[in-house]
Chain length 372, copies 2
Amino acid sequence: MLTDLDTPALILDAQKVKANCDHLRTRLQSMGVSLRPHVKTAKSLEVVRMAHGGGTGPITVSTLKEAEFFFSHGFKDILYAVGIAPNKFARAAALKRAGCTLSVVLDGVQAAKAFKEFCSAESLAIPALIEIDTDDHRAGVKPDAPELTDIGAILGSQLGGVMTHCGNSYISKSTDEIRGWAKTEREGIVHSSGRLRAAGHAAPVASVGSTPTAMFGETFAGLTEVRAGVYVFHDLVMAGLGVCRTDEIAMSVLASVIGHQAQKGWIITDAGWMALSRDRGTAKQAVDQGYGLVCDVDGRALGDLVVIDANQEHGVIARRGGLPAKLEDFPVGKMVRVLPNHACATGAQHGAYQVVNGSTAVAATWERFNGW
Amino acid sequence: MLTDLDTPALILDAQKVKANCDHLRTRLQSMGVSLRPHVKTAKSLEVVRMAHGGGTGPITVSTLKEAEFFFSHGFKDILYAVGIAPNKFARAAALKRAGCTLSVVLDGVQAAKAFKEFCSAESLAIPALIEIDTDDHRAGVKPDAPELTDIGAILGSQLGGVMTHCGNSYISKSTDEIRGWAKTEREGIVHSSGRLRAAGHAAPVASVGSTPTAMFGETFAGLTEVRAGVYVFHDLVMAGLGVCRTDEIAMSVLASVIGHQAQKGWIITDAGWMALSRDRGTAKQAVDQGYGLVCDVDGRALGDLVVIDANQEHGVIARRGGLPAKLEDFPVGKMVRVLPNHACATGAQHGAYQVVNGSTAVAATWERFNGW
């Protein structure tokens, strides 16, 4: 039972994970585009298998450690979706030589030259996708930039295609706005692909992705695949965007009440930012959930109770806006579950998931890993 | 050499750690008060030994896992400084039975009754300190609260004394203000001790602590010990407070340049929030350091270059305020070192320290741990 666990602990409701996975897989299947789930959220074999309906399949990784782990567990088709640094070339080569269908990402002439030179010296043809910038937020070449075809020319037969991630979808104010970003993502990739093909490249891969655009995109025509990560768990940022309901969030942090501040109506718990993460992703949304929304041990949200502040190993719970909680309902030792702002960040604070299936019975422990 | 490492990686300059440790140890020795370093920052055997000048000694822990680890490595005198939840009583008892001089902390009648009942049933006399609230921020009983002596009466012979942590010292605007908080901490504890002693308790321990107040407190008269954690490494929050210089910060994150946004003057690296943490502790200080201050691979700060944004595995470097960096100085593959806002949070994102001694030669790898 959850009430027998030490706290804090990371809880995963596998029923919700399965429903979230099935929903997006079915949606994209019906729209005729492949799903390449991003494993950076879960970093768990069991969850990623669930994302593929029980087996293996193409995956996206954010670190070569993820690539190595999942490859060693039967996942062959792997996109390393962070611009590759030269000091990672050797590990990428080792994966390729071991039989991994690895692709990498880069977004500039310098990186393309360095990578091409390495691959030529090693006689390895690892495909590289060019990252396209469709949101002005991070990495990537603009769809119209002259540099795009320069990079294509350097990569030559190793040009795998193009990919983008529209992080702006995370700061949308409505689902209509998300649809707009999905259109921007798609058009940026279709345009870039077109330019590279016009320049004589096959550029077979046309890859987009973020959970909001994957969930709301109205067409994926011209694209070969969609990447998404956080949809397997969802979180309060996704709920604030209208991408999911709070009762679809599969991850929570189990905490114990350790004390009170009676005059302020505060409940003090043993889940601080070490357990919840420092992520304040809902701070700029319409509803600020503090460091997380508080549920009872069965996983039902308790009105407007949120974690209003967090120290390393202390959480402070009160009603949204700092209003006092009803302390008599939360004696010392009582357990609550806190829904995370950002599942990727909260997950990273833990080494394992305690798995339930809609009840408080612990059905399994699933390992997860961190590091590079 | 640092340049041979995979990135991102957590770097520790052991010379700086030693100087930081020696400074506070010497200061408190000369002021006649014991130091009980808080191991939650480093979670490393080598660092905590350094805090004690090479051996063992009293320590403060934030988790029972820290207590168990350090006890198994010869540290006998341990204060678990987070209010204890009933589901942790059994682990505390196991430590006590194994010979650990363990003290715990609590701050309310409910917790005191539960703990006293457990100890009586188990025939164990584990001392409990009452947490005193000297900053209105978190847990604790006010020095003047009637509840203080009620808790003392419940604990009886198990009352170990009082402790406080003045988190407000972290939001001081000047070192004078820090001195003021040190006075508040001391007076709160001296007053609380006095009340408990007047009520007939020995209440031997009078414990205060935070790095700023430990570094600037003008007297520790009436106190038995000072707790501090982050001083072993220091960080940008401490530098912003005037508690240390940036060149005294012992921790940094090694990152590789993976690309650029030429029009914006951005350098993209492979150290995002997964490597740096989501902590934005300098956001409200006079100088906002973004997600960290950028140094060259030798550890020298590069003017006003900071990490202006961070995704999971991407960092964006530009000059403070978003001004463009000089990209030609940062080709793809170049390495930089990023000083952290908050060493406790950044450390927690990593499994080990790569140790240097003022140069770029890697002298050792020191394990660190996370979890509960």
